[in-house]
């Protein structure tokens, strides 16, 4: 065979994804160590198992539907509806149980394994239906995936609430926005964290196998990489999309079951609200490219774990009311992770962080952000100090950047 190798770029490229995953691992370890040290209660030292259990449960729950989000993203699409799908899945499950065993449900008694089985099946089937609806909207009605799943993001939650209220109105004495789930099957899942963790890991393993070792997986990547070329290569792209969106919706449905188990209640009003963005963030932090075709299961698993570790770290450090900051943390992590992943390319072009008038305006924005965050978490005085320090630092950075940029220009001019 003619092999011609001017430069072993391919070796480097094959190493890239794992490097991204290595850096995620390092970041996870760093976050854990830092939290253990900074946290004044030193929870990680004194109650390691309890902390591990919390993180494991949360990571597994996020991870399950992050895998779905990753598969959709790799196939070149996006699924914004998984948070609402979680709510719908939980509602369908509990409404089914309520319909099949109303007296037991109202008395908080076991409903029987057959009923639970049917209810779980109904939830997963709902996931399949939603995935099918998405695919139809995207391939036949030709809506962009963003629009189609934006519609279901809004629509499915409302549908779940309506379903919950109208079925409780018929099946129970009073209309209700919640359905309590007290069956022991769900309690077992709640009390034994390994249940969700094992489900997550098994699902991750099979997703990995599907993506890397099956024809379907290859077709998913081809579809995400170049849809037109995939069609012209004889791939039935509609069917591949159908799989991807069903996988996305069904993993969210599965996650929805763990949500109602954990909270012992189906609450369509706010269960899983906004969590679709956490799943997309986990996939993106894990190295999935939103332009499609690129991403791994390993990365997504680590991405979900990393997000939960950081969220947990902040809740340990600020103690109370940490859930307020969850979105902020996810936002910052996504920005930093993606910037870091692009960093190698970004630095090569002698790019400045604060160029021109945009950079000038960004300085007070970042300083204000730092100052207000610090004052909300640690008090007004330190907040002002932090904001002021950030401002000085950024101004210094700007001056330094301008100087070195001018110097470089001079050097290359005089050459």
């Amino acid at each position: 065979m003619k092999l011609w190798s001017p430069f072993p770029l391919h070796a480097l490229r094959r190493w890239w994804p794992s490097q991204n995953e290595w850096s995620l691992l390092v970041a996870i370890v760093l976050a854990i160590v830092l939290t253990a040290l900074v946290d004044s209660n030193h929870t990680y030292f004194f109650r390691p198992f309890e902390s591990l259990r919390d993180i494991a449960r949360n990571s597994a729950m996020l991870g399950i539907f992050s895998l779905g989000a990753a598969v959709v993203i790799i196939a070149g699409g996006i699924d914004l509806s998984s948070g609402s799908m979680i709510a719908l899945s939980g509602t369908v499950c509990s409404v089914t149980m309520l319909a099949l065993a109303p007296t037991e449900m109202m008395a908080f008694k076991p409903v029987g394994s057959a009923v639970v089985f049917i209810a779980v099946l109904a939830s997963l089937l709902t996931g399949f239906f939603v995935g099918t609806l998405h695919t139809w909207l995207i391939t036949v009605v030709r809506l962009p995936p963003f629009i189609a799943t934006l519609a279901t993001l809004v629509g499915l939650r409302s549908f779940a609430r309506a379903l919950c209220e109208s079925s409780t109105a018929v099946l129970t004495p009073t209309k209700s926005a919640l359905i309590n789930v007290a069956d022991p099957a769900f309690k077992v899942v709640r009390d034994n964290v390994w249940f969700s963790v094992v489900t997550f890991l098994v699902l991750a393993f099979f997703t990995w196998l599907m993506l890397s070792r099956t024809v379907l997986g290859r077709h998913l990547k081809a579809l995400g990489g170049n849809e037109q070329a995939a069609r012209l290569a004889g791939i039935h792209t509609e069917n591949v999309k159908w799989f991807a969106y069903c996988f996305g919706a069904m993993t969210a449905a599965l996650a929805g079951l763990f949500y109602i188990a954990n909270e012992s209640v189906a609450a369509p009003v706010n269960q899983g609200r906004g969590h679709e963005l956490n799943a997309i963030a986990a996939a993106v932090v894990g190295g999935c490219s939103l332009s499609g075709g690129v991403g791994t299961v390993q990365g997504t698993v680590l991405g979900a774990f990393f997000l939960r570790v950081v969220i947990d770290a902040v809740s340990k450090i600020i103690k109370t009311g940490a859930d307020v900051y969850e979105g902020l943390i996810v936002g910052v992590v996504v920005v930093l992770a993606v910037t870091f992943a692009q960093g190698v390319n970004g630095l090569r072009h002698d790019r400045r962080i604060l160029p021109g008038s945009l950079g000038l305006c960004t300085i007070p924005v970042l300083a204000l952000l730092a100052g207000s965050l610090a004052s909300m978490t640690t008090g007004a005085a330190s907040g002002v100090a932090a904001g002021f320090t950030a401002f000085i630092a950024l101004v210094a950075l700007r001056i330094w950047e301008n100087r070195s940029h001018d110097k470089k220009a001079q050097v290359s001019n005089s050459q």
């Binding site: 024809v215 290859r218 081809a222 290569a233």
Partner: protein, 506 residues
């Protein structure tokens, strides 16, 4: 001082590296004021990179640039525009949703005293500029409705509005009809009279020799030589471009033709949306085993539409009969065609052919993955085994089996796509402009490949925008114009003049 003023552009020791490749290596070039200076070279020779450095798109790693004797440094295209350099890219960069006038003044819109857009002035000025170019385009027209040739004139008007004294044209005629090419040549003559310096990138020798005063040849990122047009010949220039003399021999000596494999009868396609897709009217032809049928025609003549309809890749409904090996077929999806032994290599390799996110092996095996399944799972080893055979036969040059497809040259990428289809063991191969954007050396290799495939009994349908290529490869040529077949020539009857006449029949 006077001597300096005569030099419009001087580039000295320009070097530019991209990850893994040296695109330009110590290139030195001088362009005189008011001349038409042609830049020739194979694809990948560095022509476009050099012009992108001149127009501020890229910054050189080393070397210096002088415009009219002044040392300059461009950090952006805006810098270059301010220095009077404008570039007309191969892929036109107009905003299709805006009017002609809006495009001409994009980013420098004339404004009223109150800061609102002043459309009246924009229109008047655009009209003046278009008048200079002898173009009958209304400034109020939507750019999307213009033909490619007219869009190009809009780009030139934009360059003029910048008061550019140096205009770079990157393969401007690749999408033009003969009439439009002629008009462009007149425009270039006008621009030259007005004192513009023009850098003209092309690999069409006849154009270069009609237009240029001097010719610079680049090869593998290096400057080979700069010569006066009068002191050289087309074959010498081609030789410099390739680094060796290319003998233009005809492939495929007479051979016996097998049975009819593909017959198309009265193929009609109604246009779906009135503007874009071409209609086909009663297209009929047959292809035999061991034969290459060439389809000639200008852009928009319907060549691609014919192949797409046959391959089941067309979005619009068609009427007529297509029979494959004597059986009437109608493919709803490319996969059906592939199963029946008919495959298509699409035009525009980058957009329709390759998967940039997959490696070389994966790009080739994508259509035959089911043969690589061991124990129910895809086996990388089996996959590489399957791919190795055509790679050897065809001679694909790749750093490794798992190299990224983007590391391969255009010719090798095209070979990968052909290998992809050969793995499905087809009887009929449709090639839609397979050598577009491929350098001369790789073209010759592809010709040999097509010849070999034919001798092994494949029926080949080939379209090409380059007539010499069709004449070299085809046993028979049909000519299309506006969705109709206007002529058919045997190998001996065909020549460029006859084909062009038939292709421009309205």
């Amino acid at each position: 001082m006077n001597k300096q003023a005569e030099v419009a552009v001087a580039m000295r020791g320009i070097t530019k590296q991209f990850p893994g490749v040296v695109a330009l290596d110590d290139v030195t070039l001088q362009v005189r004021r008011g001349e038409v200076h042609a830049i020739c070279g194979e694809n990948g020779a560095g022509k476009s990179t050099l012009m992108k450095i001149l127009s501020g798109v890229h910054q050189p790693d080393a070397g210096e640039l002088e415009i009219a004797g002044q040392s300059v440094q461009f950090h952006s295209t805006r810098d270059a525009e301010n220095a009077g350099v404008a570039i007309i890219h191969q892929e036109l960069e107009l905003v299709e949703e805006l009017t002609v006038a809006a495009n001409v003044f994009l980013g420098r819109e004339p404004r009223t005293r109150f800061g609102f857009l002043n459309d009246a002035i924009a229109k008047r000025k655009a009209q003046e500029l278009l008048g200079l170019l002898d173009a009958s385009i209304s400034p109020e027209e939507m750019t999307s409705g213009l033909r490619v040739g007219d869009q190009q004139l809009v780009e030139i008007a934009k360059a003029l509005s910048l008061q550019a004294s140096i205009i770079v044209m990157d393969e401007p005629t690749s999408a033009l009809t003969d009439a439009e090419t002629e008009r462009l040549e007149r425009t270039i003559a006008t621009l030259r009279l007005q004192g513009c310096t023009i850098l003209y990138i092309s690999h069409k020798m006849d154009e270069v020799f009609r237009l240029a005063d001097r010719i610079t040849i680049l090869r593998d990122g290096r400057h080979v030589c700069t010569v006066n047009k009068t002191e050289t010949t087309a074959s010498e220039v081609t030789g410099w471009m390739v680094g060796r003399e290319i003998s233009e021999h005809r492939f495929r000596s007479q051979q016996t033709v097998g049975k009819c494999l593909l017959e198309v009868k009265d193929l009609c396609v109604a246009s779906q949306d009135s503007s874009q897709s071409v209609q086909l009217h009663n297209v009929s032809f047959r292809v035999h085993a061991g034969e290459v049928l060439g389809i000639a025609g200008l852009m928009g003549a319907g060549r691609t539409e014919v192949l797409e309809a046959i391959f089941g890749a067309s979005n619009s409904q068609w009427q007529g009969t297509i029979s494959l090996g004597g059986q009437a077929v109608s493919f709803a999806h490319p996969s059906d065609a592939c199963k029946a032994g008919l495959v298509m290599v699409p035009e525009d390799r980058k957009r329709l052919g390759i998967f940039l996110n997959l490696n070389v092996t994966e790009n080739i095996s994508i259509c035959s993955l089911f043969h690589a399944i061991r124990n129910g799972l895809l086996s990388k080893k089996a996959e590489e085994g399957i791919v190795a055979k055509p790679m050897n036969q065809i001679g694909i040059k790749t750093p490794s089996l798992t190299a990224s497809i983007s590391e391969l040259s255009g010719g090798n990428q095209q070979k990968c796509i052909i290998s992809r289809w050969l793995l499905t063991k087809p009887h009929v191969l449709l090639l839609d402009d397979p050598t577009r954007g491929i350098d001369v050396g790789a073209k010759a290799e592809l010709y040999e490949l097509i010849d070999t495939l034919c001798q092994s009994g494949l029926a080949v349908v080939l379209t090409s925008s380059e007539l010499p290529e069709l004449l070299t490869l085809s046993d028979r040529i049909i000519v299309m114009a506006e969705g109709r077949v206007t002529a058919e020539f045997s190998r001996d009857e065909a020549n460029e003049k006859k084909i062009m006449t038939a292709a421009t029949l309205a």
